[in-house]
């Protein structure tokens, strides 16, 4: 009904290759033109020598400096020229990278959106960031996030909320809200995020971009400031599926510093599928009906019809325990978090509140340093682990987790992928749910089961919703995300399917791109953003 599925438009990759091609012949690209390139297209232009890495870096640095959405907690003060030599020989050719605040970056503030880590400068860099840098993706900025990745709206950041580029009165989703908004608004070519219960997929959906949560263990967690160790995974937030594959290719692999990291069985391929012929998609009634906003369901179903047109077979499947996933998640994640966050005690780093006795120092430091949501989850997790409640809560939750793993195993006997809406709603208004934690938690309804099962899942934009209420730019609606999930290590197949669907849907993310006012910023050398560090 009120849903608007835009008629086919040339997606990024194609448009970009045209651009790259055109500018190959003609003189040089303008800043705006190079900023339109997807990361993959930028790599092509850089390696073809049509573009200087330092130019591209400075253009993005200026664009990021003109950010009006509060996407960043730090922007590099370095000129592109100082980013080491231009790197045409590296696989990523020098395309700059925005990194979620919670990744430790040596000598660069890594605060995980928390006051308790304000100004913290780690002495080491996270493995995955190091790998991407070695592959030729220099660090452009650190992105805003919900404190310790706890949140679905980015309103829990100690550094202020991030605004949704589609509608600045609304949230970008969370916890990787800064990364999602920055990519959607074109302030960064791509960004690194983390997903514990949906923190990549949900903001990607609300910002109309692509977000991938890899198989648990596929990417090293070393240097990721932990939220829930058995669920946290790093993943790409990108303008299109091709970029997601390209970034993931340089992220995966066993790391001797992370005992839970695994060898990825094969190289990540760049997706190229054009049809879904022979692909069986399972729609679990538990996650694609009750509790999902009507407009979102419409866009989702339109996406399914598109998939069918591409040759996919749509089947109803059942995940009987999925309705309990959220409950299990909100026991397991806070329990692990309550322990992971115990190290913030005012002794070795970060905030310390004055007190003349030890317990007073601990309790005041942790009271002053943690925000409301983090306090809630620490309390929740501590309670769930405390004697007398362990079996009823943590023990049971871990058994529910087993049932959910079994549910998916059974479903993947019948179908290749599970497909659901990514988020029950479109981007909601700032402050709409801050008063009611439970309603906020319900945002993770569709994404949490995959997290508990440790399987890969990708969110791609499948259309707009809310036109009937005149939501979004030009009243055309706000983005809706479609989630595809596959068995462990099925990333290549998943990316191929997502790519084929993306090409067919031709979602237009242009409305999120930065307005003229800020565009000026791209031309003037946007001040010295570094000062914001």
């Amino acid at each position: 009904m009120g849903t608007h599925v835009p008629e086919r438009q040339p997606p990024f990759a194609e448009r970009d290759s045209h651009l790259a091609h055109r500018f190959g012949e003609s003189a040089r690209m303008s800043a705006n033109e190079m900023l339109e390139l997807s990361a993959a297209a930028a790599v092509r232009a850089l390696t073809a020598g049509e573009l200087e890495a330092s130019e591209l870096f400075d253009a993005y640095r200026a664009r990021a400096g003109a950010d009006e959405l509060n996407c960043f907690t730090w922007i590099t003060p370095e000129q592109g020229a100082r980013q080491g030599a231009p790197q045409p020989e590296t696989p990523l050719g020098g395309v700059p990278l925005a990194v979620k605040d919670l990744f430790c970056t040596e000598g660069v503030p890594s605060q995980s959106g928390s006051r308790i880590l304000e100004g913290y400068l780690p002495p080491y860099t996270a493995t995955v960031v190091e790998r991407l840098q070695r592959a030729g993706a220099p660090l452009l900025a650190k992105t805003n996030q919900d404190e310790f990745a706890m949140g679905s709206s980015n309103e829990n950041s100690a550094y202020g909320p991030v605004l949704n580029p589609w509608d600045r009165t609304r949230v970008p989703g969370g916890s990787s809200g800064g990364s999602a908004a920055a990519v959607a608004a074109g302030l960064a070519p791509w960004a690194l995020g983390t997903d514990t219960g949906g923190s990549i997929r949900q903001p990607a959906a609300l910002c109309g971009i692509v977000g991938l949560k890899p198989t648990y263990g596929a990417v090293s967690r070393y240097g990721m400031i932990a939220f829930a160790s058995s669920l946290d995974q790093a993943g790409p937030l990108t303008r299109d599926v091709g970029d997601a594959a390209l970034m993931l290719r340089h992220m995966v692999g066993r790391d001797e510093c992370d005992a839970t990291s695994l060898d990825f069985p094969h190289e990540i391929a760049l997706p190229s599928a054009e049809s879904l012929e022979g692909i069986r998609l399972g729609v679990p009634e538990e996650l694609a009906g009750e509790g999902i906003e009507a407009g979102v369901l419409d866009a989702f179903n339109a996406g399914l019809r598109q998939a069918e047109r591409l040759g996919a077979k749509i089947e109803q499947v059942r995940l009987p325990h999925a309705p309990h996933a959220l409950s299990a998640y909100y026991v397991i994640a806070p329990a692990e978090a309550s322990s992971n966050l115990a190290r913030f005690d005012g002794v070795r780093y970060g905030l310390r509140a004055d007190a003349d006795d030890l317990v007073g120092m601990y309790t005041r430091t942790r009271h002053d340093g943690f925000g409301a949501e983090v306090k809630r989850r620490i309390m929740l997790g501590t309670y769930a682990l405390s004697s007398g409640y362990y079996d009823a809560f943590y023990g049971r939750a871990q058994r529910v987790r087993t049932k959910i793993v079994e549910d998916f195993r059974a479903v993947f006997e019948q179908v290749d992928f599970v497909v659901t809406p990514t988020s029950p709603t479109v981007a909601f208004e700032l402050g709409a749910k801050t008063g009611d934690p439970l309603s906020m938690y319900l945002n993770d309804f569709c994404t949490v089961p995959m997290s508990l099962a440790g399987i890969p899942a990708i969110s791609i934009p499948c259309g707009l919703s809310g036109a009937e209420h005149g939501l979004g730019p030009g009243g055309k609606g706000l983005p809706v995300g479609l989630q595809l999930a596959g068995p462990a290590f099925s990333e290549n197949a998943l990316l191929d399917a997502a790519y084929a669907l993306e090409q067919a849907l031709g979602f237009d993310s242009a409305p999120a791109r930065l307005p003229a006012s800020a565009r000026q910023g791209a031309h003037r050398d946007g001040g010295s953003p570094g000062e914001r560090a």
Partner: protein, 478 residues
């Protein structure tokens, strides 16, 4: 004094493993290095850092399990033990809970409950005038020790006295030293012991309320501490009082026992499986490696020595001090001629040789080679040299070393066999002590003393006492 009460004692022993690096990171172990010079993101608990278990620590854990006859768990996991303390950087200790590496076992008369691995806390230096903890208001944390691999060995409550506990702990220490898995040095803290102590009316089987006596840092203190706690409980109980379950601290200076009840809230460690580590599965290769690395242990060695005919005391004395045992076995296998009886050699090592060495000096470091002592004790056994003469030879060996046989010849110390020359000396002795001879003849055997003394003087102790007596009687026609 605990006449109507029987002490029931169990021990919890923490042993720092002698690996090169820490339990969960690559920082080198150190002792006495400048503070905070052996740390990294992992052992400092920096945000984002992750633990990875040390393979050799697991290997040592398996060796300990084998040595104690434990059941080695085919699959064991690490848990987080959550509590706040400045020496605990992560806010939790990575330990083992309901699936430890080793279960059960026994050492001598004491059953083992379990053996598990964990990481050690850092060092808190209390800043304060006297250095006594309660006098200080601030502390300094040194994370060098933090993360050192620990094996915690928990016994069943099978000990019944402070002395027995000390004795058993010595055996455990010797065993661990023999395994080479730890320095087991109490002064340096690589061996730490807590004792769980309760009393019950003699004959009762039900256990009384136990107290935990913490971190006694020398064998002397352990025995004194346990004794003191037994007395304390005995007084409470015989006074009709009830023993409180609490953690106690023994102050060796005052000999007083004080409660360690901290101001912190009640402990609730909220154990849960460590999600940053994967389960430890003991594979065949790991077991073989541990087996291969495990040498013969003191208890077994002592039994083997007894099999050679040694008394229980000699066997333990030699087996429980590795260097003595090695020296003894070197002597036995030296093919000395004549070969000594094992017990004779044992006596010469323990009674004669050790008495001639400085305290703590190992026979191996003396000038007396195992072969030399074996030969000497062999000659004594074969009556080629008298005990007295042999002691003179040993003095020379300790001073200059050398070959006992050669010394005997050079010094003319070889025993006089019952030949004419000894008979002649005896005759002279009788002549010189006529009255003594008369009394002996009259049946007073004791009167023989001066006569034998004369012979020994004349023969510089080379004569065999028995032979002399025989000749005296013979010449007196008794």
């Amino acid at each position: 004094m605990t006449t109507n009460y029987e002490p029931v004692i169990g021990l919890e022993i923490h042993i720092q493993l002698a690996t090169r690096t820490k339990m969960f990171c690559g920082c080198e172990l150190s002792f006495g290095d400048p503070p905070n010079t052996h740390t990294c993101p992992v052992c400092l608990g920096l945000p984002g850092a992750l633990p990875v278990a040390n393979a050799r620590a697991i290997h040592f854990g398996l060796m300990i399990g084998l040595a104690l006859g434990s059941t080695l768990a085919p699959r064991s996991i690490f848990h987080r033990k959550n509590y706040f303390y400045p020496d605990l950087p992560k806010g939790y200790q990575i330990s083992q809970y309901d699936e430890p590496l080793c279960l059960g076992g026994q050492l001598a008369e004491v059953r083992i409950h379990r053996v598990h691995l964990e990481d050690d806390a850092a060092k808190l230096v209390h800043v304060g005038s006297s250095g006594r903890i309660h006098a200080s208001d601030a502390s300094i944390v040194d994370f060098n020790r933090g993360g050192t691999p620990l094996a915690e060995i928990v016994t069943e409550p099978d000990l019944r006295s402070a002395e027995q506990a000390g004795e058993w702990l010595r055996l455990l220490r010797t065993t661990m030293r023999r395994l080479g898995v730890s320095d087991v040095n109490m002064e340096e803290g690589s061996l730490r012991c807590d004792a769980n102590i309760s009393l019950r009316p003699a004959g009762e089987s039900e256990l009384g309320t136990k107290t935990e006596l913490k971190n006694m840092n020398s064998f002397r203190f352990i025995e004194r501490g346990i004794r003191a706690e037994i007395v304390r409980q005995e007084e409470i109980l015989s006074g009709g009082g009830r023993v409180l379950q609490e953690t106690l601290h023994f102050d060796p200076d005052s000999g007083r026992i004080t409660s360690l009840r901290s101001k912190e809230q009640a402990h609730d460690y909220r154990y849960f499986p460590e999600p940053d580590l994967v389960p430890v599965a003991v594979e065949e290769a790991m077991l073989d490696a541990a087996q291969a690395a495990t040498p013969e242990l003191p208890a077994a060695r002592a039994e083997r020595f007894q099999g050679l005919g040694l008394s229980v005391e000699s066997a333990r004395r030699l087996a429980f001090t590795a260097e003595l045992g090695d020296y003894f076995e070197a002597g036995l296998s030296a093919e000395a001629d004549p070969a000594p009886a094992p017990q004779t050699l044992a006596n010469w090592i323990v009674a004669d040789l050790l008495a001639r060495l400085e305290d703590g000096q190992s026979p191996a470091d003396s000038r007396v080679t195992p072969t030399a002592l074996a030969t000497l004790s062999g000659m004594v056994g074969a009556k080629q040299v008298s005990v007295g003469a042999a002691r003179q030879v040993l003095d020379r060996l300790v001073a200059e070393g050398g070959d006992p046989a050669a010394i005997v010849v050079a010094e003319g110390l070889s025993a006089l066999d019952g030949g004419d020359d000894l008979a002649a000396v005896v005759a002279a002795a009788l002549a010189a002590n006529a009255d003594a001879a008369e009394r002996v003849k009259a049946g007073n055997a004791k009167a023989i003393g001066p006569i034998v003394g004369y012979v020994m003087r004349e023969t510089k102790g080379r004569a065999d006492g028995g032979e002399v007596t025989r000749l005296v009687n013979e010449q007196l026609g008794i």
